[in-house]
Each structure stands twice: as C-alpha cells, then as structure tokens.
C-alpha cells in the first residue's frame, strides 16, 4: 500500500472550458506515490479532460499541476513526458504501419550523429519487453498484432521512460479476462515500485480490486475522494450518478417467451474466424454470446447481419433462409444490428441526430418518391421520446452527444425498422452507468414485446444480468451453453478458455 508521504501529483483548482461548456471546474486532488488512484464518473463527467490537462495535450484555463513538488508547465506534451507522466489510452495510439521498435520510440528516437541508433533502441525495447513479460517480435508491423497486443505495446512505451504517474484510461475495454489480469498485475508491479497509477474505468470490479482510493467526478466537478474500503459498489454508482441505480439484478419475471423460434443459425462457418456455429433464438428471448476477445463473436454477429460473408452454413429467420452477405436482405428479413464500433460503424458523426435516426428507414419517410420532412420529424420525435435521448435539438450533430446518448441514437435508428431480430454488439461499451441502465431496460422491454435478441458482450455482469441463455464461444466454436438464470462468471470463463489453458483464479 502507499505510504503517507508527500503527494506525487497535486492538482489544484483545475478548470477548463470548451466553448460554453465547463468541462472541469475547480478540481483539486492529490495522488500519493505508489498509489493506485481510481477515477470514476459518467461520460461527460470530465475524466478525459482531466487526462488531457495532465498529459499536456490541452492547457487548463486555471489551476496548477505539481509533480513531486515542481510545477508542471501547462499545455506542453514534452514537459509532461519529461516530468514522468505517461498515459495509455483506450483508443489506439499505435502506428500500424510501423514496427514495434518504431512504435516504442516515435517522438523520442535515440539518435547518434543525426542518424537513428537502431541498436540502442532495440536493446531498450528488449529490456522493457522482458520487464513486462512480453514476447512480441520487434520487427513486425503493429498491424499484425491483435488489439490486446497493441495495447501491451503501448504499456511498454509508457514504461520506457522513468514513470512517476501512469494514467490508464479504460485500458481493459477491449481485453479478455486473461489479458486484463496481466494488465492489472502490471499495475500492481508499478505500485510496488513506487509509481502512481491513475486508473480510469467503467468496470467497477476492477476499481474495487485494484485501487487504494477513488475520486468521483460528476459534471466537471469533484464529488468526493475516498478510500476504497469506505464505499460499496452501489454507493459508488450512486455518487457518480447522483442517485442509486442498479440495473444488474436479474429480472426474474420473464415475459413473452413462447418457444417460437425466430432465428436459426445452422452450421455457420467462415474460414479462419469461426466454424460450425449453430444456435437458435426464440421470440421473447435474449441470447447472450460470451467468450474471450478474438473468439469470433462479433464476426458471427456481422455474418448474420450480412456485413461479412461466410463460407458455409445457413441462417433462417422465421423459417426462411437468408441470403448471405447482404445487409439489405438481412434488414428486409427484420434483422438489425447495433455494431461494436459506435463511432465508425454505428453513427455518422457529422450528420444530425435526426438524419442518423432516419438513416435506415429512408424508404419509409418518402412521399411521391421524395423525402417528407413531416414524416421524418414525426418518426424522429417518437424515437427520441421512447429512448429518452437527451439532445438539445434534433438538428445538432451526433458528434456532440455523450456516449450514452450516441448509443441510444444508434439503437433508435435500428428500432425504427421494427426489427424482429436485434443483434447488439457491446451495447454499453463506453456508456455511463445511467444510460446503461436505460439501455438494459429497453432491451428487456423490446424483447418481451415480441422480438428476439442476440447480445454479444465482454461485460460479464451485463451478460449474466440480461441473458436468458448464454452460448459461450471459444476460438471460433461454440464451447457450450449455460442457462442464464443460474449462470456464474466462473462457468462462462471456464468455457471461454481453450481446453488445457491455465484458468484464471
């Protein structure tokens, strides 16, 4: 644990606004050496702005940051780096076309007489990889690594420098359980070495597992900074949201199930991605697909939706065989998919909320072959009301909405086609707790009202809370099925790991 000495980092009265929006106001907190300090808050609470101020990407309007007693010059990326502040982002800041060594040293290359000193860089690279227990080839372009491996490379990059503060921003969002364990282990290693860690995550289990203290932000303001043993999960959520919320208890009453099969997937195979995948989803049922990242879950979802082609097998909706590789055919059959990547696949950010919501039903809002504003506005209004989307106006850009509201827009776009089979891929990733609960409620309601739902999620509590049945995929195959009501995380994990692998504790 940390020793109560002088703080490593002191933040005083930090404020930052963008346009008229106050992203941070008068934040004061300190981080002790060798402490893992959690940072929680809904989306839009100010976490990423705080990170940007710490790393020098953005200068604060007021306030100071002090590292080991020395003030940090604001808005200066190099100064922050020199001061020992490093950050691992959720989105990839990797250079896919460059190899591993280049990725570690971009921006701070080691040079000798004006030329790159490859040997020195490679030596240091080897050293840091050893420290982190990684065995990746130094000369492979990063493109060929998995998302998890790329994240490890970024950790390595952050560890190259003498780190005083490591900021980890949702680092486990795309990681499997085993990879998460490695990452958390690393955080512990750093803690023991006296490095401070600022850990931002929506995964509260990790916060409770790892952190000594936690700071909660809400609407740009500091709500509290407490030691982790003084809070329980619901209280933490309560502080973030301002109210007690719990969507993750199972709804024991399951309505609407009548054993009618809506979707039947038979022997679906796609070379190199998944094989012999078969399952059924009934009307009024939520089928969850669990498994490690890379098990092929999203690939199956995309194949069903027609976004990707598959090699063998058949998909039947209400008994009728579906044409493969055609999104149009899938939509006509009543399939809708909320994709994994909200920003690149789900939404068109520069278009308005209204345009995004109506994107899938353009043929329905036409009159005499032309788009009809009145019909469009009506449908959009209905969707906004039904989903409780918070947007100042329907004509604002989708980009300006918070993560939770953006996800609701994607969901709304698809609900507009009145789907018979809804596929959700990571529906609450990057969504704050309040919106998450609303989305869960909606999923349950819609399914009960006569839809069949397939949900792919890496969020185990979500998987267990929502699913009636769970299929677990492992390395491209269905490893087993578990009943949703009685499932436990261990059961899912046991099936998710390839046979013969070490099980996580």
């Amino acid at each position: 644990m940390s020793d109560m000495s002088d703080p490593m980092i002191t933040i005083e009265n930090l404020s930052r606004s963008y346009g008229g929006v106050q992203a941070l106001s008068q934040i004061s907190l300190d981080i002790l050496p060798g402490e893992v300090h959690g940072l929680c808050g809904e989306n839009g609470a100010g976490k990423s702005t705080l990170i940007k101020c710490l790393t020098g990407v953005v200068p604060p309007n007021t306030g100071t940051i002090t590292v080991e007693g020395k003030p940090l010059s604001s808005g200066d990326i190099h100064a922050a780096e020199e001061a020992g502040i490093a950050v691992i982002y959720q989105e990839s800041t990797a250079f896919l076309d460059l190899d591993l060594v280049d990725n570690l040293f971009v921006g701070r290359e080691i040079q000798k007489f004006g030329l790159l000193d490859r040997r020195a860089m490679e030596t240091q690279a080897q050293a840091v990889m050893r420290r982190l227990d990684l065995t990746l080839d130094l000369h492979t372009p990063l493109q060929e690594f998995s998302i998890a491996e790329r994240q490890m490379v970024e950790m390595a990059r952050a560890c190259l420098r003498d780190c005083k503060l490591l900021i980890m921003d949702e680092p486990t969002a795309s990681l499997s359980a085993r990879e998460t364990k490695t990452l958390l282990g690393l955080a512990n290693q750093l803690r023991e070495a006296g490095v401070s860690v600022l850990y931002i995550s929506h995964r509260l289990e990790e916060i409770f597992q790892l952190c000594d203290r936690v700071t909660v932000l809400r609407d740009g303001k500091l709500v509290c900074t407490t030691s982790i043993d003084q809070l329980d999960r619901n209280q933490l959520i309560g502080q973030m949201v301002g109210r007690e919320v719990n969507s993750l208890t199972r709804c024991e009453e399951r309505e609407g199930q009548n054993n009618e099969v809506r979707a039947k997937i038979i022997g679906l195979s796609s070379h190199g991605q998944f094989s012999e995948v078969s399952f059924e989803v009934q009307v009024g049922e939520i089928l969850g697909i669990g498994g490690l990242v890379g098990a092929g879950r999203s690939e199956v979802a995309r194949a069903i939706f027609g976004a990707d082609r598959y090699d063998e097998g058949e998909i039947q909706i209400d008994g009728i065989s579906l044409k493969k590789g055609s999104i149009r055919a899938a939509m006509d059959a009543g399939i809708a998919m909320v994709p994994e990547d909200r920003q690149h696949q789900g939404l068109i950010l520069p278009m308005t909320v209204s345009e995004n919501l109506s994107l899938a039903i353009l043929s329905e809002i036409m009159k005499h072959c032309l788009l009809n504003d009145g019909t469009e506005n009506e449908r959009v209004k209905q969707l906004i009301q039904h989903l409780a989307i918070k947007a100042a106006s329907t004509k604002m850009e989708a980009a300006s909405l918070s993560g939770g509201n953006q996800q609701k827009v994607v969901l709304g776009k698809w609900l507009a086609i009145k789907p018979r089979f809804l596929i959700l891929d990571e529906p609450t990733r990057g969504v704050d707790v309040g919106a998450k609960a609303e989305i869960h409620r909606l999923i349950r309601e819609l399914t009960a009202a006569g839809m069949a739902t397939l949900i792919v999620t890496s969020d185990l509590p979500e998987l267990l809370a929502l699913s009636d049945r769970i299929q677990v995929m492992c390395e491209g195959r269905i490893a087993g099925e578990i009943d949703g009501a009685s499932a436990t995380e261990e059961q899912v994990m046991r099936l998710a790991f390839p046979r013969g692998e070490e099980q996580p504790i």
Binding site: Y18, G19, A307, H344, Q345, L349, M351, L359, L362, L371
Partner: protein
C-alpha cells in the same frame, strides 16, 4: 437564409466580375457577345453535375475530360461514316456510359481508390481517343448536318437538357433517399453501409452518370467545333474547380448543386472576361488558380466550424 450564406458570397463575386466588365468594357455584357461565349458553359455545366455527386461521396474523377475526348472521337467516326444523327448520338452516349461504367466498376466493386482509377483512365481514355483518331480519320471531323441541326438549331436543346438534368440532380441530392445516401457515404462510408445504404450501387451509378454527361458534353462540343480527340482537354481542372469553388467539400459529405452552378457561372464569366479584355491566356490561368485557392480559404475563414467540444 443563413444556410445559403456562401452562395450569396458567390453571387456577390459574380456581381463583382460583371460590374468590372461593365466598367472596363461594357461590350462584353452585350447580348450577342454573351450568347456567343455562353456556348462553352453548357459543357462545363454538364460535367459538374456528375462531379458534384462524386465529390460529395469523397471521390473524384480526373478522367471526365478524357472521356469527353473519347466520346467525341466515337461521334466523329460515326459522322464520318455518314450514319444517321440519332445513331451517331447513341454510339456517343454508349461510349460515355461505358467509360463511366469502367470507372464505376473499379471504384465501387473492386474498391480501388478513385484517384488512382481515374488517374489511370485519364491517360487511357485520351490515349484511346488519340489512337482511334490517328488510326482512322487522322483529323477532326466536322459535325454532320444532322447533329448540327439538333444541337445548334432553332430549339435550344442543350440549355433545356442541361436545366432539366440540373434540376433533377438537385432534387436527387436533397430530397431523395439516394441523395441522403450519397452524403452519408461521403461522411462515413462504413457506417453508411452498416445502415443498409447500397453503397456500391450508388457509387457505380454516379460514375456511370458522369460518363453519360461526358458524352453529352462531347456532342455539344463536337457540334460547336468539331469531333476530335482534343475535346475536353484540361477541362477536368475547370470542372473540379467549379465544384469546389461552389462550396462542395473535397472531403465529402457537404455541398449543394446551387453552389456548383454558381461556381460554374463564376469560373466561366471570369475566364471569359479575362480572356476577352486582356487577351492573355496566362492571366486567365493565374486568376482561375488563385480563385480556387482563395475560395477554399475564404470558405473556411468565413464559415469555420466551431471547434468540437471534447
């Protein structure tokens, strides 16, 4: 009306050009002269209709001028063979459709970057035009009477055709599902595809449409001057300039046809006046090139978007 602020700026600029003409040499503005000079504007205008659609999808077509040359040669060959006017025209249109379809197939279905495809076809179509011409008539072909009478006869076929196509294209863009789809593709092609928009089909169609327009422009040109492989040489630069000056973003997702039309008018009048008054083609080039850059700078400066809040 704030939405059309940029178009008003363009209108103002056109006014400035005309006003300068009024001051420096009012003869330029006389009806005869304008009518005489306007014959070139239809070709430019036709090509910009398709180019606007293409640039809105964040694509580009560098081969329009070359396609026009190829169509012109095919028209010339038919006329040379004394085929009836309707057949000549049909062959020309088919050539244009084929040229556009080749671009469209490569861009939409094989998914090669449009800059690369049209860079290659820019050379290829012109090369085939020149080759065909050298191998057969080895000289420009004068327009046959049939073609001439249709195009430059009493009834203003071309202006009417252009207006009809322009109106249709404008409606397509703003008020149809296909148009909304084009804007979506320009912003984010993947998300558009994931929303059920027929991306490949739409892209194929707009390149093919542009090929058709090139054929129409070729007919125009050949009736006015002669059917030659030189038709449309360097015209693609003007076409792209007109579309961009008209406010369409080269990155895709934004642009209006009315802006393009004003861009066409501005570029045309500027070019004609500078040519007329100073009679130095180099000055025209400098002015047009500068105009293009200033238009984009000005658009950004006057209408800079609010920085995104994080």
């Amino acid at each position: 009306m704030k939405k059309f602020a940029y178009e008003f700026v363009l209108l103002g600029l056109i006014g400035v050009v005309l006003a300068s003409a009024a001051i420096l040499d009012p003869l330029f503005l006389s009806q005869n002269v304008q009518l005489e000079l306007s014959s070139e504007i239809w070709e430019l205008g036709l090509l910009t209709l398709g180019m606007t659609l293409i640039i809105i999808t964040a694509g580009i077509d560098l081969s329009v001028g070359s396609a026009m040359g190829l169509c012109s040669v095919s028209l010339g060959l038919c006329m040379h063979a004394n085929l009836p006017a309707w057949l000549c025209g049909l062959v020309c249109l088919l050539t244009g459709l084929a040229a556009g379809a080749i671009n469209g197939t490569l861009v939409a279905f094989i998914k090669v970057h449009p800059l690369l495809v049209t860079l290659a076809t820019y050379g290829m179509y012109r090369g085939f035009a020149e080759g065909l011409q050298s191998a057969t008539t080895n000289a420009p072909v004068d327009a046959s009477d049939g073609i001439k009478s249709i195009v430059t006869g009493g009834f203003p076929v071309i202006p009417v055709l252009f207006t009809a196509l322009a109106v249709w294209t404008a409606i397509l863009l703003r008020r149809t599902a296909a148009g909304r789809g084009l804007y979506a593709i320009g912003h984010n092609e993947e998300a558009a595809r994931f929303s059920g928009i027929p991306v490949a089909r739409l892209k194929f169609l707009i390149y093919t449409y542009t090929g058709l327009l090139a054929a129409l422009a070729a007919i125009c040109y050949s009736a006015r001057r002669s059917a030659t492989a030189e038709a449309g040489m360097v015209l693609e630069l003007d076409v792209i300039s007109a579309v961009v000056v008209g406010g369409t973003s080269i990155y895709g997702g934004r642009g209006r046809l009315i802006g393009t039309l004003l861009g066409v008018l501005l570029i045309h009048e500027t070019r004609q006046f500078v040519d007329w008054y100073w009679q130095r083609s180099e000055l025209t080039l400098i002015v047009i090139g500068t105009l293009l850059i200033l238009a984009v700078l000005g658009h950004r400066f006057l209408f800079s978007r609010n920085p995104q809040t994080q």
